[in-house]
Symmetry: C2
DNA sequence: GCGGCTTGGTTGAGCCTTCAACTAGTGACG
DNA sequence: CGTCACTAGTTGAAGGCTCAACCAAGCCGC
């Protein structure tokens, strides 16, 4: 037997879908416009910038950005063509590749970050009360735990 | 001056991103696998199925699914090729088109719905407490209002 | 009724993602 | 030490989305 959604659940689900879609689309568009890259690529640069020596194995980078190996591989090809990252051989595993953030990539990221952070604040945090922010965090963490179980 | 995110805000933002991405990707994959259509197309069929006579002007359909006219136009071409919708001339505005859900489209939707709803329940509602569901709804509604302002 | 603005919708190019297939290197086990 | 399963990463095709350009048709003023 299907456990259908009642009216309230419907409303919740549709509101959530609309909100998350609108939010990600808005931020994606802003980033594309201001920095010439989609949000997914921005995230890759962020993770690299936070890693020791600004370098990560492709597989770790895929893991940490929540993308498939294939997606990351395509993305890396573009980022490399843009001169924002470079790929090096891994000394300990000859199958491996290490993605390295270039100076140009770091500079691009540094230029893009303020605008993007401002966008996140404006579109998300400014709209919610401190209590709601806290609730959203717990909800999100619960969902992540549940989905990656 | 950039209003940077503090540590807690960072965590909240990243958790939210991860959760909403994981959720939509999971449901999208399930739907693609079980019903042979992406979630965006499923939504179009749902809106049509709820409309009087299962028909809507393209512009209203775009509005109600939160997609651009261009996106809907491309989607409609595919849905029409699949035989799930059909487009008719609008009698009152000769520029207009009316999307109509076909019987085949309705049957496909009816077949896909139980599995999808079950997925939404399993991945979202089952993970959260009733209080959290209520919080999520208010948060989402607040964000939608804020973003479409 | 005729310029000119606006609206409804489509189109094509380019980009991103997915999926499945593939290469190459690693590691474990007999 | 050879074989077989698994892991790292890439590739290409196909599909979906965005953006900008475009064609009609409606609408508004004079």
């Amino acid at each position: 037997m299907t456990r259908w959604l009642d009216h309230d659940e419907q409303q919740t689900w549709r509101a959530f879908l609309t909100a998350s879609r609108a939010l990600t689309e808005t931020l994606d568009r802003e980033l594309q416009h201001d920095a010439g890259m989609p949000h997914a690529y921005y995230e890759i640069l962020v993770r690299l910038s936070e890693a020791p020596q600004r370098r990560l194995r492709m597989s770790e980078l895929a893991e940490s950005t929540g993308s498939s190996r294939s997606r990351l591989s395509h993305a890396a090809a573009r980022l490399e063509a843009a001169g924002w990252i470079r790929r090096e051989e891994c000394p300990t595993d000859r199958r491996g590749q290490i993605a390295v953030l270039t100076d140009s990539g770091f500079a691009t990221l540094a230029a893009a970050a303020p605008g993007h952070v401002e966008g996140v604040r404006r579109h998300l945090f400014d709209a919610l009360s401190p209590a709601q922010v806290d609730q959203l965090r717990r909800i999100s963490e619960t969902l992540v735990a549940h989905l990656t179980r």
